[in-house]
Symmetry: C2
Subunit: 224 residues, 2 copies
Amino acid sequence: MKRRAAPSRKTEESEAGADGKGPDGKGGETRERILKAAEDLLRRHGPAKTTVVDVARALEMSHANVYRHFASKAELQDAVADRWLKAISGPMEKIARGKGPHAKESASTRLEKWVLALAAAKQRKVLDDPELFATYHAVAIAARDVAEAHVAELRGQVAAIIRDGVARGEFKVADPDAAAMAVLNATTRFHHPHHVKESAGRIDQAQVRTMLKLVLAGLRSGAL
Amino acid sequence: MKRRAAPSRKTEESEAGADGKGPDGKGGETRERILKAAEDLLRRHGPAKTTVVDVARALEMSHANVYRHFASKAELQDAVADRWLKAISGPMEKIARGKGPHAKESASTRLEKWVLALAAAKQRKVLDDPELFATYHAVAIAARDVAEAHVAELRGQVAAIIRDGVARGEFKVADPDAAAMAVLNATTRFHHPHHVKESAGRIDQAQVRTMLKLVLAGLRSGAL
DNA sequence: TAAGTTACAAATTACATTATTTGTCATTCC
DNA sequence: GGAATGACAAATAATGTAATTTGTAACTTA
């Protein structure tokens, strides 16, 4: 169904007014309605059974009009997944940047809470919203850049905690970005959609805590 | 096709003479021929396109006779996967137990080599034998006990290295089994079939080495 | 009597056909 | 003139049916 050169889809639904206001008042509103309807259908029927036609029908508009607001079905799914992911990474940023109740906490405490929060959030999602979780997983498998951006965001947050820990003298780390990647790698089993889904909400909390001890000791040791 | 109560398949092809000799000389021989033919077909056509009838045809026997030696198609696949996995874990045991050229190496060195060997082996397999890799992955996804046994074997090997490290005063670890699990968890990204396949043979070696530094520092620190 | 076969029912898969969905475009409607 | 639509071609998915595969059992052979 793609008959000419693709206009280089860019999955930039978050830029140029994704959250509420578009370039124009009305257009952004419709875009928002579509997004909401798509999210609703995806939550109820999952990515396999949710078509663009379904979304349009739910809003009593032609499916062609949906394509005026989203370049492709993939972009629509990406937009829904992006919101969903930001609902996870947003709150975690408060822990990472030491905002609010976390202002006086050590970097170690915050890293610990951060990892536990991430694991818990993913686990909660797979149990409460299995179909939306499947949507996100499908996006991740297709290696679309929303998933990549999510990982980059998480990596940035961990790096911020580590840098703070270094500044406070808690950690001895030469390359905080590499160390952040290592922390995400080490905890992959506890937050990667594949493993979270596989172990269907019964991830061993003791194993997470053991991993945290190992990681924190490593960051303190100066080995990195 | 299952018309009465299943006779509780047990996937115990490795017990009671899997490697060469069965209870009888001749029967084990045929079993071996079937196994070899199945492996060959699985390697060439993959698990999706390899049927029991194909295996039987390759040996010019009736497929019913295959069922005299393997209770089900699943058991046949399990047996092939089991061999394949033992070809990986077998050589690694030499590193783990400090045999041969590894007799004089420190536990740290051996753990390092062991993890690198595991990652390299999995990576080599996915590149050289993609179809057999897919067979193993299918078995792992179906959560059959061959996969579980493989992980248990690996965990045992890591625990042995850690125990040795503790005895030599290299590591300070209270619970070597839990620590071994943590090491496997931390390195999941580098050897789990899902991730190995996903990153199709281009796993970042630098990330593996960073992870090893982190893990070794943790084992030395006494945090576990 | 162990090793093998043929014959068969039940389940699964392959295949061809239809129907739906995706994405585009010319046109209509404020 | 931006928002929306209907009509359309190409791709994909659903459907029903034929062919294959799985697994069992009764039977043959050495």
